[in-house]
């Protein structure tokens, strides 16, 4: 075993390089070219009690899932307010929440949403939600981008 350690070490070296490249790769995110499910447009807005007006929405809008029990949602809230102030339409989907808590939460933190839909989980299921908060950027009825977890300034920079 001692005689020729050279060969093993060449192998080791090659493997080491391969392994290094592998470990350095950032996990790639697949783009979802999916349509917005129809369930969303069949449900009624919480405050106005009407269906969502697709004419008013326009081509580009954002869908944001949130809940009053979710702490990271609070963190991204100011960014949503900023988006709204720039005239971007956001549909808020309140995911599996207590009604009173939800009303209090909106009153306390402000309402950045054009429409708010309360969801018992079926919309989340159709959208493929993994957890709140989760944000979808929609263009021409197709999901362009999906961000899991709270939004950061870098995520929405281009839209401001």
């Amino acid at each position: 075993m001692k005689k020729n350690l050279f060969l093993p070490f060449i192998g080791l070296f090659i493997l080491a390089i391969c392994a290094f490249y592998y470990f350095n790769q950032a996990p790639s995110q697949k783009l979802e070219a999916k349509q917005v499910p129809a369930v969303l447009f069949e449900s009624k807005d919480f405050y106005m009690n009407e269906l969502i007006d697709t004419q008013n929405l326009g081509d580009f809008y954002i869908i944001n899932f949130f809940a009053s029990w979710c702490k990271p949602c609070l963190a991204e809230h100011p960014l949503l307010m900023e988006l709204q102030s720039k005239g971007i339409k956001i549909i808020g989907v309140n995911f599996r929440d207590d009604e009173d808590n939800f009303i209090d939460w909106i009153e306390e933190n402000g309402n950045p949403f054009e429409y708010i839909i309360r969801d018992d989980g079926s919309i989340a299921y159709e959208m493929g939600l993994i957890g709140v908060p989760e944000t979808y950027f929609i263009n021409n009825k197709i999901i362009q981008k999906k961000i899991q977890g709270p939004l950061f300034y870098e995520d929405i920079e281009t839209y401001l």
Binding site: M1, G11, A19
Partner: protein, 593 residues
């Protein structure tokens, strides 16, 4: 001074004492860490992160191997402990050099990528961050060390095999030593896997005992290879054949064990038992594995000409043991492929796949079924050539088919019927040969018991999985009526208790399962641990002969509580047969000495 030189001379003139000294020195850092944990020395980062000042001393000490660094240190400690014991039976310097070399590779790994004694500044809170509460369990104290003893036990067959291949000394004595050490490792592996399985069953609260989780798979691969090794070593010793085959199995078993550790520690594969990750760790462990692998390949290339004359008749014990090997190795490779397939799929096809129970239930059981059938007849086949023919086999299969048909008619479950079909021949045959052989053959009883307990295990496992019954039951506040669980069985809420213990708050629910003639009390609880605030579910079980009621709290609110109650038939038979299996291998080890 004179005393000193005299002493050192004594040490260095004796190889044995010198080797012992090296082993003791390499093993000692782990003991230092254990002491550090015991006295809660929070100036060390590792201890600070993994222990909590109010934990009982028992858990403080066991936190030593709860972390990544600690467990690698334990790994090194055990390699050296094995070295010390191996020195008692074999003091060949060349072999010990290899053990020390491998041990030092791991020490190097620890020094470079994960120093367990890293110091921190004192100005942080001095309470410690606490061990993951899910690990605060009596079984967890013995599970990892036992499993590690099993993994590392494979190092002795590894170094012995490579020594045999280098020195070309194929004496029976060396093979016998290999058999002893691989049996010892097999004993610890089996025991460790059973403990881990029981821990998952009784602590995780999911009602399952095997999840085909990557970490479980990884422990199963060396177990399967080691099982194959033990069987092929019999051929090597008794009939002087399949020697290269056995040696290779020994080499690959240890590689599989190290590879498993690599997969878990580097977090390449997501699992319940995740540890913090660091690319450097994975890189270094990959280098260790590559080194072992290349050594193995080189040894093979050099010695391949020495054995290719293995010849034996088709109706012989050798053939059947080889068949056992084929299936066990195929099973090990299947589990390996299933475990790393998602990785390849991610890299090559850029799509993520999850491989879990449905796949393994198909693939693994497919490979195990023929083995179990063979297990009934193979032990009675003669070495060399089996000439006597009789119709017994035919009758046994016929009886088995008849019983299977009856079982299928009664239970209407194809899987249980199949498991009956493959195990009945084993039971019949075991019964028939027991009285004939028990007085004649020394090692017979251990082997008989091992095979029989595997048969029992399969019946129990399939029965539990196929006929368990689960129901979620919700009680409103002040609800004192019984709620129906199953036909003739109902559940009654007694009271809800809230108590404070040293490091956690405990909310327990007292329940009574009411049957026609008997009552079983259960008290599952939820524990809220300090300082992390993590909540764990404590399972409560009640035995009903071989069956068990298994209760957990699925949700607790101010006005209602829901209980998840599972009826697990035959689950106790499963644990009993596992313990019998461990016991049988223990018997076969002490018989040899």
């Amino acid at each position: 001074m004179i005393f000193y030189t005299g002493w050192s001379k004594k040490i260095f003139t004796s190889d044995r004492a010198f080797l012992n000294l090296i082993y003791v020195i390499s093993a000692s850092p782990f003991l230092v860490l254990v002491i550090g944990f015991a006295i809660s020395d929070y100036t060390v980062l590792n201890i600070f992160q993994n222990s909590y000042i109010d934990d009982p001393i028992f858990y403080k000490v066991t936190s030593a191997w709860g972390s990544h660094e600690g467990s690698i240190l334990l790994w090194i400690f055990l390699i050296n402990i094995y070295g010390i014991f191996f020195l008692k039976t074999n003091n060949n310097k060349e072999i010990h050099k290899q053990i020390i070399f491998i041990s030092s590779l791991f020490i190097l790994y620890l020094l470079i990528s994960s120093n367990p004694f890293q110091k921190i500044e004192l100005d942080t809170t001095l309470e410690g961050l606490g061990l993951n509460p899910i690990l605060q369990h009596l079984l967890f104290i013995i599970h990892p060390p036992t499993l590690f003893l099993g993994y590392i036990g494979l190092i002795i067959p590894f170094v012995l095999a490579s020594h045999i291949l280098i020195s070309k000394n194929f004496s029976e004595d060396l093979f016998n030593q290999m058999l002893f050490w691989s049996k010892l490792s097999w004993f610890f592996l089996t025991f460790g896997i059973v403990l881990g399985s029981y821990w998952a069953y009784s602590e995780l609260g999911w009602g399952g005992w095997w999840f085909w989780d990557p970490v479980e798979n990884i422990s199963l691969i060396p177990w399967l290879l080691n099982t194959a090794l033990i069987h092929s070593l019999q051929v090597s010793i008794k009939s002087n054949q399949l020697k290269l085959w056995s040696l290779n199995l020994a080499l690959y078993s240890f590689i599989a064990a190290v590879f498993g550790t690599f997969l878990v520690r580097s977090n390449l594969i997501v699992s319940v038992h995740s540890f913090a990750t660091d690319p450097l760790r994975g890189l270094f462990l990959i280098m260790i594995i590559a080194y072992l692998f290349i050594v193995t390949l080189r040894l093979n290339i050099k010695s391949v000409n020495y054995f290719n004359q293995d010849t034996f008749k088709i109706m012989s014990k050798e053939t059947f043991l080889l068949l056992n090997n084929i299936f066990f190795i195929a099973a090990a490779l299947t589990v390996l492929v299933g475990t790393i397939y998602p990785l390849f799929s991610e890299i090559i096809y850029n799509s993520s796949v999850s491989i879990g129970a449905p796949y393994y239930n198909f693939a693994f059981n497919l490979l195990m079924a023929p083995i179990i059938l063979l297990m009934a007849f193979a032990p009675q086949i003669k070495w060399g050539e089996h000439k006597r023919k009789n119709n017994q086999t035919f009758y046994i299969i016929a009886i088995s088919i008849a019983i299977t048909a009856i079982v299928f008619y009664l239970q209407e479950n194809i899987f249980f019927a199949l498991s009956v079909f493959i195990t009945i021949p084993l039971f019949i045959k075991s019964f028939l040969v027991f009285f004939k052989k028990i007085s004649k053959d020394e090692g017979f009883f251990a082997q008989w018991l091992a095979h029989l307990s595997i048969g029992l295990f399969i019946v129990a496992a399939v029965y539990t999985e196929q006929f368990d019954y689960e129901k979620n039951i919700t009680f409103e506040k002040g609800d004192s009526s019984e709620i129906v669980f199953d036909e003739g069985t109902s559940l009654l809420l007694e009271n809800i208790k809230d108590s404070d213990l040293s490091n956690h708050q405990k909310i327990s629910v007292d329940l009574i399962v009411v049957e026609k003639n008997s009552k079983y009390s259960l008290s599952p609880s939820k524990n809220i641990y300090q300082p992390s605030g993590q909540v764990t579910n404590e399972v409560s079980t009640a035995n009903r002969y071989l069956d068990q009621y298994y209760a957990t709290i699925s949700m607790i609110e101010s006005d209602k509580v829901s209980i998840n109650l599972v009826y697990k038939p035959f689950i106790n038979l499963l644990w009993i047969s596992s313990i019998l299996l461990v016991f049988s291998i223990f018997l076969s080890i002490i018989k040899r000495k």
